[in-house]
């Protein structure tokens, strides 16, 4: 396979000006991944600062309801409230190694922006976060968090004023400030080497899960479920299990208002192959190749494309991709909160919703792991709106 390719997918479809930065990034990454000093620094930040390892919680109530053995991988307990910090700490340390003094990032729901602001604050890097103007209003609390953490939030008013336009704006900034700026991309999308770097930094989720489940159950899980927007939490937990044919891997996409509504974010289930923001992957596009608008109640899944490695895993059949609607996700959000006392992020609630649906596929001894990629505090206002404010 060609470098930077996942089957036919991936690649580096970027303007020439960016190529030098991608080459520098790949060289740096190749160097630091072999560097014991880098590994030990990253490990220190992940364990002593961010709170790894995160628990793999056996959920008695959920198991009783679903009729199988259900575990939650608790990325919601990571500092910042989501899996995003695994990647931002890794890339911010790389920025240090490259001598870059400034980080830029895109954010949709604000979780990646917050995680970048945290990493920038602790590692002494200035941070500018691009956020669609629509999202700055939907996620005002996270805007305030980022600003508290010393980051500058730049509202993006171009295009659809959401995540994809925030990525476009960040790429435009990067192309003009390559010498002192690292673009800290938040998902396993974009041009090579980003999908590889983000996957590797997020794989800590799967590596821990594997060790934890073997200690607890003496066997591997039967099924692992994770939500997929760009796909970083999913690839992070799937990757160490891809070679284990007995472990069913399920990625759950945003079905929005229903798969037939055209109001969704299901690029793998409903999209077609195309080039978008630097990579060949599945994409929600029209017949001419223009990007379509997307919708999900979960801002983190409201994106027209997906990481190229997921595209390969879909074609090979190794990972199964399913859809969950806004309504199902909302139901799962309330269900998990009441049943286990854990408020999931709306993104992660998609994975929970699918697990509720899929439990029939497992028998009583079957082991099901749900990647709880983030906590739902950020979403309570949005959910209250859908409930008419009271319940």
């Amino acid at each position: 396979m060609k470098a930077g390719r996942y089957g036919i997918y991936g690649g580096q479809y970027v303007p020439e000006t960016l190529m030098s930065a991608l080459i520098e990034l790949e060289e740096t990454y190749t160097r630091v991944r072999e560097d014991p000093d880098f590994s030990s620094r990253l490990s220190w930040y992940l364990h002593e600062y961010a709170g790894r390892e995160t628990p793999l919680t056996f959920c008695e109530n959920l198991s009783r309801d679903l009729g199988c053995r259900v575990y939650l991988k608790r990325e919601d307990l990571l500092h910042g409230g989501a899996h995003k910090l695994n990647n931002t700490l890794g890339q911010a340390l790389m920025a240090n190694y490259m001598g870059k003094s400034r980080l830029i990032a895109e954010t949709g729901a604000g979780q990646h922006g917050v995680a970048t602001a945290i990493a920038g604050a602790v590692l002494g890097l200035s941070v500018d976060v691009y956020m669609g103007e629509v999202d700055t209003r939907r996620q005002a609390l996270n805007v305030f968090r980022m600003e508290l953490l010393g980051a500058r939030v730049i509202p993006v008013t171009a295009g659809t004023r959401t995540l994809k336009d925030a990525i476009n704006a960040a790429m435009r900034d990067w192309v003009a400030n390559l010498r002192d700026t690292h673009y800290l991309l938040g998902s396993c999308v974009g041009p090579h080497p980003f999908p590889m770097i983000v996957r590797d930094f997020q794989s800590v989720i799967g590596v821990e899960t594997r060790r934890q489940i073997l200690e607890r159950e003496g066997s591997l899980p039967d099924m692992i479920v994770a939500c997929v927007g760009g796909g970083s939490n999913a690839i992070g937990i799937f990757y160490p299990f891809v070679g284990d044919a007995g472990v069913a891997l399920v990625g759950v996409e945003a079905g929005g208002e229903g798969p037939e509504s055209c109001q969704h974010g299901a690029s793998l289930s409903r999209g077609s192959v195309g080039v978008f923001q630097g990579a060949l992957s599945y994409l929600l596009q029209d017949d001419d190749g223009q990007t379509l608008e997307t919708h999900s109640i979960a801002a983190g899944l409201d994106h027209p494309s997906v990481g190229p490695e997921h595209a390969m895993l879909k074609d090979s059949g190794r990972v199964r991709y399913e859809m969950v609607t806004d309504a199902e996700a909302l139901q799962a959000f309330r269900y998990l909160s009441r049943t286990e006392g854990i408020i999931p992020a709306l993104e992660s609630a998609h994975a929970v919703a699918f697990a509720l649906r899929a439990a029939d596929e497992l028998d009583r001894d079957g082991i099901l792991v749900i990647n709880l990629s983030g906590r739902g505090d950020k979403d309570v206002v949005e959910v209250a709106k859908h409930n008419g404010g009271v319940e």
Binding site: P15, E16, A176, V275, F276, L280, G289
Partner: protein, 268 residues
């Protein structure tokens, strides 16, 4: 000799005007193109509207969106090209596009349609040399010149690899950034032009940020054979959208004034 080579062969500086096809609609876009030709543009570079033009600054991005809002599709771009070809049979026409438009249509089909519409060259802004293996033979098969982009950040090895498979002319990006008007062009331009000159016999044109007569002079004094002006012209279309004659006059005056940079350059 190809039309592009012919334009550079005349031995005087070449003015390349950029416009987004269908901005703000088909009729006014054709009118803008012909105004640019009448004012003395030597080559036209015509962009296929795209929803996510990441290499472009805000002015050109808005033009892409205006054209998309007007319902312009690739087939309309080819129709516009045909009309322009009809208006100016000898004028070199270059299609500027993002790769997904080409990929979605099918590389070979795109180049075949581009040829049929009268395009002389294609510039794919987000297709670096690493990803161009499918496009190179297809372009060659259809007799389309593939205009290469070279940035200030391009290493000498990459410059060589890029120029090896290129034809038409070398498009030098003057600065690190997206398209758009700037107060000043970077000072290292002459070094970039001569570094590229050493590696190719192709003519060299410089774009990005070129928006004033003194920029045109700077580019020519740096040793380039031509300039590409985009945002400064697209902005005039935006400002005069509802005034056809005003738009044509503004474009004419701008191109005449920019070409003043030609005569004051030490190269002419």
């Amino acid at each position: 000799m190809s039309r592009i080579a012919g334009a550079f062969f005349r031995g005087r500086p070449v003015f390349i005007g950029f416009t987004v096809a269908g901005d703000p609609d088909m009729g006014r876009s054709f009118s803008a193109a012909t105004a640019m030709i009448d004012a003395g543009a030597d080559i036209l570079e015509i962009a296929v509207p795209y929803s996510d033009p990441v290499a472009d600054g805000p002015v050109i991005e808005r033009a892409h969106h205006r054209a998309l809002m007007a319902g312009i599709r690739p087939v309309d771009v080819f129709l516009l090209l045909l009309k322009i070809r009809d208006y100016a049979p000898d004028l070199p026409l270059i299609l500027f596009t993002y790769y997904n438009i080409v990929y979605r249509r099918g590389v070979d089909r795109f180049f075949s349609e581009a040829t049929a519409a009268g395009a002389d060259g294609v510039l794919i802004v987000d297709l670096p040399v690493e990803e161009s293996e499918e496009v190179v033979p297809s372009a060659r098969r259809h007799g389309i010149e593939r205009i290469p982009l070279i940035a200030p950040t391009t290493s000498p090895e990459r410059q060589r690899a890029i120029l090896q498979e290129a034809s038409g002319f070398a498009y030098l990006i003057s600065l690190e950034g997206v398209t758009g008007e700037r107060d000043h062009l970077p000072s290292g331009l002459a070094g970039l032009v001569s570094a590229v000159r050493e590696k190719t016999d192709l003519p060299i044109a410089v774009g990005f940020g070129v928006s004033r007569p003194e920029h045109v002079r700077t580019v020519l004094d740096a040793g380039a054979d031509g300039v590409i002006v985009g945002s400064a012209l697209v902005r005039l279309i935006e400002e005069h959208m509802d005034d056809g004659p005003g738009m044509r006059e503004a474009l004419r005056a701008a191109i005449v004034s920019l070409r003043d940079g030609f005569s004051s350059s030490s190269r002419t």
